[in-house]
């Protein structure tokens, strides 16, 4: 008797139960659960202003980068706020894989050629509070040798930089980055100057709209490591404007060099001199997708 009663109720409830079952909750129960939720797009560009940001060129993408730094604005209208004297760097970056990108560049300053390797070590996620990227830059000065002539050998023209880029996107709008840096110069003229320069960088980004952000950057190197007449403070403040495919980065900075060893340790104008140290500058990025993602085809 109980058996029939039970089976009756089981059947009855299974009918009622299924009728009551909600498609919403069914869908919710089967949606893919992400264990690791990554945080992407911490900064807009691959450079904050002078220094590299945690962002790498995307896989299969070639980025063309034009960078300009003008003379200090202090002379006013005479040289049109420094625009008469421009130093440039242009370069190409390419994303080999999702985690490794390479780049080459050429600067007016020192007539230097530079190349870099940038490797993503960790991505920010719900399990990892910040992302970490390792950057290695090598540069060679090809300008006329001004020091002792007998010292002019190939190795003395080389500069190396290693940076550990640690960044975190705190909110949708606000990101911050700290960048412990080691610059190695193979040759220094002043006996008190160090071949190894330790520096620390700080970068900030605050998005003011979907396509615009205010960025700030500061590098500090103790001036005792540097040669005379060089300052260890590099300050930059800028505006990122993204227009789809292009990123314009307009800024004010006291550094004229655009390679790591130049803006860290080779900044001639101390920021405390105000308008006599501050230059207008811009970075212009254009991305071309060379290798398209094949997973996306229709």
């Amino acid at each position: 008797m109980y058996r029939i009663k039970n089976s009756f109720f089981i059947v009855l409830f299974s009918v009622l139960g299924l009728k009551a079952q909600n498609l919403d909750s069914l869908v919710a129960s089967l949606e893919p659960k992400e264990n690791i939720k990554y945080t992407d797009y911490i900064f807009k560009g691959t450079k904050i202003i002078n220094g590299h940001s945690i962002e790498c060129t995307k896989k299969g993408a070639l980025q063309l980068m034009f960078q300009h730094r003008f003379s200090p604005i202090g002379n006013g209208i005479k040289d049109f706020f420094g625009l008469d004297g421009a130093t440039i760097r242009f370069g190409f970056d390419y994303g080999i894989t999702k985690w490794l990108s390479v780049g080459i560049g050429r600067s007016t300053t020192q007539k230097a050629y530079d190349g870099f390797l940038k490797a993503k070590l960790f991505k920010q996620s719900n399990k990892m509070p910040f992302g970490i990227v390792l950057l290695g830059t090598t540069a060679i000065k090809t300008d006329n040798w001004t020091a002792k002539l007998e010292d002019d050998i190939f190795a003395h023209r080389m500069f190396y930089t290693t940076q550990l880029i640690i960044a975190r996107k705190f909110t949708e709008r606000f990101s911050a980055q700290i960048t412990p840096t080691l610059v190695h110069r193979n040759y220094v003229t002043n006996p008190n100057a160090q071949n190894n320069v330790f520096a620390l960088g700080l970068g900030l980004r605050y998005k003011i709209s979907k396509r615009m952000a205010i960025v700030g950057e500061y590098f500090y190197a103790n001036a005792r490591q540097l040669e005379d007449n060089y300052f260890g403070n590099t300050v930059a403040l800028g505006l990122d404007i993204e227009t789809g495919g292009h990123i314009f980065q307009l800024h004010f900075t006291n550094a004229s060099g655009m390679v790591e060893h130049q803006f860290i340790g080779m900044t001639r104008e101390n920021i405390t001199n105000g308008i006599n140290s501050i230059r207008i500058g811009f970075n212009l990025n254009r991305v071309f997708t060379l290798v398209k993602n094949s997973e996306s085809s229709w």
């Binding site: 979907k210 227009t243 997708t289 398209k292 996306s296």
Partner: protein, 220 residues
């Protein structure tokens, strides 16, 4: 819903009924059911109904492909997503679809960034959903094996905006389930997705969305 599977159910019903019928003979008095047939009918209905609901009217998404084309003749902006979740209840005609926005894959990584960062705002609105009902569910004749046209009326929730949509699709019975295919247009303005004029990538005013969904019977 195939004829042979329905036949199996009937056989199963009879098998079960034979047993219950014999037991029922003893307990009719206890249950105060004068007519054994009533009991029999009831049980048969309940059993069949449960079986029907359980195995044949609820279908879950097995493989899916959602693609969209938002480009213009100058630039192709398209993406693909294979991570959707969906259910169809063929009895009621209810359909529920959920698409994770972050899983749209673009040919160009930069476009994917812009899609997530500027247009869809995937951090804020992680998924797009559609909840609707097949309007002509009663006149559907899937047994025929012919693809059937359906009109699905429901609410599309995208970018935090809910919009009523009438989506036309084609449904057909497959070897072990259902196949649904659809193509429709979504007007970006309706969903408060702005298309800035200075942007180099020219976005289409209306985005063409294509779906290919393969459903299988849902078992817990």
């Amino acid at each position: 819903m195939k004829k042979n599977s329905r036949f199996t159910i009937v056989i199963l019903c009879f098998y079960k009924l034979k047993k219950t019928f014999l037991i029922c003979l003893n307990f009719t008095s206890c249950l105060h059911l004068d007519n054994i047939l009533t009991m029999k009918k009831l049980l048969c209905f309940l059993f069949f109904a449960s079986y029907y609901t359980n195995a044949q009217s609820l279908f879950m998404l097995k493989t899916s492909q959602v693609t969209f084309f938002a480009g213009t003749p100058i630039e192709d902006i398209d993406a693909k997503n294979t991570k959707s979740t969906s259910f169809i209840n063929l009895k009621t005609g209810d359909i529920m679809v959920s698409i994770p926005n972050k899983d749209f894959v673009f040919k160009r990584g930069l476009m994917q960034e812009h899609f997530n960062e500027n247009y869809m705002e995937s951090e804020k609105y992680p998924k797009s959903t559609f909840k609707g009902t097949i309007q002509n569910i009663d006149s559907l004749n899937l047994q025929s094996g012919e693809p059937q046209k359906i009109a699905v009326k429901g609410i599309l929730n995208m970018h935090g905006v809910e919009q009523n949509q009438l989506i036309n699709a084609v449904i057909s019975a497959q070897k072990n389930g259902l196949f649904v295919e659809s193509s429709f247009f979504v007007k970006l303005e309706d969903f408060k997705i702005d298309r800035p004029k200075i942007v180099w990538e020219k976005l289409a005013e209306k985005v063409e969305v294509k779906l290919k969904f393969e459903y299988v019977p849902y078992q817990k």
